[in-house]
Symmetry: C2
Subunit: 229 residues, 2 copies
Amino acid sequence: MASAEVLAGVDIVALRLGEAGLELLLIRRDKAPCAGEWALPGVLVNGRCADASLDAAAERALQDKARIAPVHLEQVATVGNALRDPRGWSLSTFYLALLAPDTELQGDDLRFIALAEVLAGHQSLAFDHAQLVAQATERLAGKAVYTSLPLYLLAPRFTVTEALVAFQASLGQSVQHTTLRGRLEKMKQHGWILDTGEKNQPRMGRPQNLLEHRPQAAGGFIFDRSVLS
Amino acid sequence: MASAEVLAGVDIVALRLGEAGLELLLIRRDKAPCAGEWALPGVLVNGRCADASLDAAAERALQDKARIAPVHLEQVATVGNALRDPRGWSLSTFYLALLAPDTELQGDDLRFIALAEVLAGHQSLAFDHAQLVAQATERLAGKAVYTSLPLYLLAPRFTVTEALVAFQASLGQSVQHTTLRGRLEKMKQHGWILDTGEKNQPRMGRPQNLLEHRPQAAGGFIFDRSVLS
DNA sequence: ATAATAGTGTCTGTGAGACATTATGTA
DNA sequence: TACATAATGTCTCACAGACACTATTAT
């Protein structure tokens, strides 16, 4: 029966919203195969690790490899073929993780890199991880069209301008601020956002209202229209 | 290295649109575990089967177990835990397959059953397959809200009334026929549907226009609004 | 005062929702 | 003719898109 089994793991596409846009969490591999190369954080899954579930294994990957807990974590898909790992036919179930903007790393083997660098192919990754990153960011962009998912890239208390940045980074295109205000207003009516009454003073200009994100369910608020065209 | 591996398979939630709504394809297991119980068609994946990819393994599951080729096939998700299979920690990547309405089965170990029977718990399935069915049908319902996915449940040439049946079965609720006509009109403009000019005569009443489905991409046409409220 | 940034108001267009009306067939 | 079913038209509403305008701060 052992020969009926296969190498399987979870890999995490963890994103943080930084000054210059979305950033991807990478870890330098210390073991073969692909030792020394930058890769997505991940772990193998099999009965010996006592993971309660695949989702739990994904949590473990982030916790063990980077000492990080994500704000949002969702499974994207599973890829499997004979070529993606030199050890043979293998499976990877990969997850999209959204991190708080103040997430920091400890250790030389961990870093954030501009997501655009990876998508443009300027930074190569181990295995087929670049492909996984592409699929995960497509998922983010797709969900940003009709859900509030990008808000998980922000601190719990945020401003409209920050929300605009999060949506535009997720979508890869600009969004009318009036459109976003309408959506936030809709969320306010459903209890997903509340007005703290407090203000945030930018370097110059009118103070910003401080909003508070109050997620009522996993996956974000669902709008009934596309935000685009 | 063999001990780092895990039992993994693909399972298919294959749906056909019948007279009384959606029907689910089941197969009676002939081997342990769960021998004799009704289950989703599926196969184990590992290097020895020479599957080019996980998607290819899903195709193989339908072909080998039921001699069927789906009109549409998409991966839904992967579940993994220690309890779902008595053999130990295991993975299942499960797919949603949409079958042509005239799909027929050969063999006593294959049958279609009303999807509602399974969702209501009146028909129990092997392993955690009932849960997989629930998730796959949620995917179908979710996509029916903003894509044309239900059209893959119909023959390539179909009528508006048939499309209405497909959408309502997928969504689990009624849809205004005028709304659907508007959507089909939109698809027509984008080349996804063409008017054959031919008519179909129901038992009584005005003849129906015969439309032809011309998918331009996988996954169906994407509308920019929700079909619901 | 001026610049910078936040927030509101207005107008248009699209498409869903609901419902009435017309069209075209059978019995 | 009566009936059944398909197809079209009309009106309203919600909300995105674009853009103008007002509000509130720092320098």
